[in-house]
Amino acid sequence: MEKNINVTLKIWRQVGPKEKGKFETYKLDNVSTDSSFLEMMDVLNERLISERKVPIAFDHDCREGICGMCSLYINGHPHGPDGEITTCQLHMRNFKDGQTIVIEPWRSAAFPIIRDLMVDRGAFDKIIQAGGYVSINTGGVPDANSIPISKVDADEAMDAASCIGCGACAAACKNSSAMLFVAAKVSQLALLPQGKVEAAHRAKAMVAKMDELGFGNCTNTGACEAECPKNVSISHIARLNREFLSAKFKD
């Protein structure tokens, strides 16, 4: 049932990538437990605006858990304490009256802070640009049913393809590794006959780009999987490693 709670927010504020940031504390009363976390942030921003202060910058767009735009490290968890969801789907009923909530941006050298809670995740785009595709042009492709694909493989490819590119995996990782993100794409395409043709090249190119952009190495702690809002499994990392090693052996 709906009720109202009072919370204390400790929010990271930082004007620019090179400026020094710090936590600021805000008290917010009468927050409906039916409101989403970002709606709570909206309420706070409306208050700051009414006090002629500069509102807190944070990324968000679809607010239904699919665009991957929202981020936020909430009480030590990317996308907050609830499982299998993004911050925009997190609701205030997960918090207690009187609780202090600490809100930080993604912390990763490869995701520089733009302002407050906004970070630059352009590195993920660059990794995809390095090989996260099937090299075909528009038109001139075979009929969609000309190559049967087993349902098991198609479903597993779909699970990998569920990745929303939010960056929670890299933010959760103590090494700031992007292995789960890279693995999801490599695995999706390696499972499908259309992507198989370039699988070896793709694995090498995407891993090389990931290393170049400053992401750390994978030490199999599994934090990425635990925090992934879409439940992408680390078994895809195993497949990435297999694809990568077999590609290297062929060299």
């Binding site: 409306e46 968000h60 735009m69 609701h91 349902k151 590119g165």
Partner: protein
């Protein structure tokens, strides 16, 4: 097939859609056979700006870059993958007829025209149906993991307004998978340097030089700097303007500003009143609410929609004294199955939305506000088992549970209609060119193919059809004459003037320093739109809305407060610029709805309905696309009409009953 041309006499028809000659099924082939092309060495010398990276924008940018054009692609988010096409859930239509249930290009064409309540252009819709199959082939080749049968072939499901299963899907995330397919193609071209990507940029004006679109003014959303970009042609795929209503299923940054900029530079705004209210959204729950969440139409494959038969039961439920599960079968009114036996729960969206409003207005609504109906899966769970339902809709059920804190496997979901999609948009001809030369408009942003109502799973089809298979052809017919035009300098006076106008507008907004936040004024606009320009419209209400919108405009331009600096990252300034344009769109919508004295598709005028409460069209007087032409700030726009001629289809009262 009726051969006699059915046309409405439209006085002074000034609008020419440039539809190719010949029989319907041959028009597109004829066009492609005879259009002008640009040779490979010239393509490299031609620049194309594409605004937007949704299904239409990303597929167009990728396809044109593959062909050899030099493309500049702009997106408002931090990455092209975040465009709101990503949120489309249910599926994409195509006339493959894989299930062998009688589908064909003609049938998809017919269903789309009928679904649009005979307010779309025959030639465009036929072309859309024709290229639909190629889209599925293209996406599979990209590695889009569509749902498959155990035999390894593609699976289909059914959607509203069709009696065949022609919808391809990838769980409840079809839009995501299709967009990621287009994004991967786009990324490949970015990696090759054929597309230059500008993310976190927002278009603020289109630059016209000697009557042709030659570039845009865009604001870098990180630095706040206003910048200039030249191109030989400009393509806008900026999505719909549903956020005029404040609460909608659109993303927070979705807006109609690019459309308004084009309109003010001479592009006609067509059928602004045609907005789709989607029947299955999670009901509004509080004042702090920032957006509405859609529950996919695919749920209507297995979910049954009902309200209590007796008012006492509805009242008891609203008061929290009874629960949905307390009511026996014969105490429930499955009103869609009752009213529309042939299509049942799978009637088109406009019909389902109005039926829900009718029941709630009559006092049978549930939820604590009375503005909700049930979507019940208990019968399907009993028939198929919970695991089957979980496999089909698991992610949607999870999303519902996270938002509402209620388990839809145990108790029925509660849903209510919400604004979702805009059929109206910038007018384009058969080539997807607006009334401004060199300015093209694709995807939801244009008005083209859905008439007065869009069928489910057709938005993805249209966006990708425009971007992969139509625009890359038709734009060449224009560019073939532009090969002599050099890359123009952005120091030309036209660029100066456009940039100055943008900067002046920003300065003016920043200088108001009033008392109200942007969102608070936007909420006011949204309430007016929902109450008077929403599901049920009438003359008095629309006139009232026009007055109220004037007041909102005045309030906005005299009392808005925008904190922060002008040349800096400033989210409130971004929102204010968008709201200024939403106010214009709201007025256009109300004006168009007032002008159209008939009911058709998503546009329902209460004065014009059949005795059974269905939409009553007036083909005599209103079989046209209304094209609004900007006449200057503060002036009334001029109404131009594109007559809709039905040469191949016989128009009827839509019937989903038998």
């Amino acid at each position: 097939m009726a051969k006699k041309k059915e046309t409405t006499e439209v006085e002074e028809t000034k609008i020419d859609a440039r539809i190719p000659e010949g029989p319907l099924a041959e028009k597109w082939s004829n066009y492609k056979d005879h259009q002008k092309l640009v040779n490979p060495s010239n393509k490299r010398r031609l620049d194309i700006i594409v605004v937007g990276t949704g299904l239409a924008g990303a597929s167009a940018a990728a396809s044109m870059a593959e062909m050899g054009f030099n493309v500049l692609n702009f997106c408002i988010q931090d990455s092209p993958r975040r465009a709101h096409s990503i949120a489309a859930q249910g599926g994409i239509n195509a006339a493959k007829n894989y299930p062998n249930d009688g589908d064909s290009v003609y049938r998809l064409f017919y269903d789309t025209i009928k679904g649009g309540d005979y307010r779309a252009r025959e030639a465009n819709v036929y072309r859309l149906a024709e290229v639909s199959n190629g889209i599925i082939d293209q996406c599979v080749a990209q590695g889009v993991p569509f749902a498959r049968e155990y035999g390894g072939l593609l699976d289909n499901r059914s959607f509203g307004g069709a009696q065949v299963s022609r919808t391809f899907y990838a769980k409840g995330q079809t839009g995501q998978q299709l967009l990621l397919g287009a994004y991967s193609a786009l990324s490949r071209q970015i990696g090759k340097g054929a597309v230059k990507l500008y993310s976190r940029y927002e278009m603020l004006d289109v630059v016209i030089i000697e009557g042709r679109a030659r570039g845009i003014i865009a604001r870098n959303l990180v630095t706040g700097k206003v910048e200039r970009f030249f191109a030989h042609a400009v393509v806008v795929g900026s999505g719909g303007y549903g956020n005029t209503f404040f609460l909608s299923t659109n993303a927070m940054a979705s807006n109609g500003s690019a459309a308004i900029q084009m309109y003010k530079k001479g592009a006609y705004f067509a059928n602004p009143a045609y907005a789709q209210i989607h029947p299955t959204c999670i009901p509004v729950h509080g004042e702090f609410q920032s957006k509405l969440t859609l529950m996919s139409e695919s749920l209507r494959n297995d979910g049954r929609i009902w309200v209590p038969k007796k008012k006492e039961d509805a009242e008891a439920i609203r008061a929290g004294k009874k629960k949905a599960t307390d009511l026996s079968e014969d105490e429930r009114d499955y009103y869609l199955e009752r009213r529309y036996p042939a299509f049942g729960n799978l009637v088109p969206r406009d019909v389902a939305s109005r039926a829900a409003k009718e029941r709630c207005d009559a006092g049978f609504g549930v939820g604590n506000t009375g503005l909700a109906v049930y979507l019940d899966f208990s019968e399907a769970i009993n028939r198929l088992g919970e695991s089957v339902i979980r496999a089909r809709y698991g992610n949607l059920f999870q999303m519902y549970e996270k938002i509402v804190d209620d388990n839809p496997y145990r108790t029925p979901m509660m849903i209510y209609p919400a604004i979702h999609y805009c059929m109206g948009g910038i007018w384009v001809d058969y080539e997807l060119q607006t009334s401004v030369k060199g300015l093209f408009c694709i995807g939801e942003a244009n008005f083209s193919d859905h008439g007065a109502n869009r069928l489910g799973a057709s938005a993805l089809m249209q966006g990708l059809a425009d971007g992969y298979f139509i625009l890359p052809y038709t734009i060449q017919n224009y560019l073939a004459d532009q090969i002599q035009v050099p890359r123009l300098s952005t120091d030309l006076p036209e660029f100066d003037e456009a940039e100055k106008a943008v900067n002046d507008k920003i300065k003016k907004l920043m200088s108001i320093q009033g008392k109200k936040s942007v969102d608070s004024i936007h909420r006011e606009l949204g309430l007016i739109m929902w109450d008077f320009v929403g599901m049920g419209r009438n003359k008095a209400g629309l006139e009232h809305a026009l007055e109220k919108i004037k007041e909102v405009r005045k309030e906005f331009w005299s009392n808005v407060y925008i904190p922060g600096k002008e040349v800096d990252l400033n989210n409130e300034l971004e929102k204010a610029l968008r709201l200024a344009d939403f106010i214009e769109i709201g007025e256009l919508m109300a004006r168009d709805a007032l002008m159209r004295e008939e009911s058709c598709g998503g546009h329902f005028r209460e004065e014009y309905q059949t005795p059974e409460g269905e939409a009553l069209r007036n083909d005599e007087d209103f079989s046209f696309a209304s094209c609004w032409k900007f006449k200057g700030e503060g002036e009334e726009p001029e109404l131009l009409k594109e007559a809709l001629e039905y040469e191949f289809i016989h128009r009827q009262q839509r019937n989903y009953k038998s």
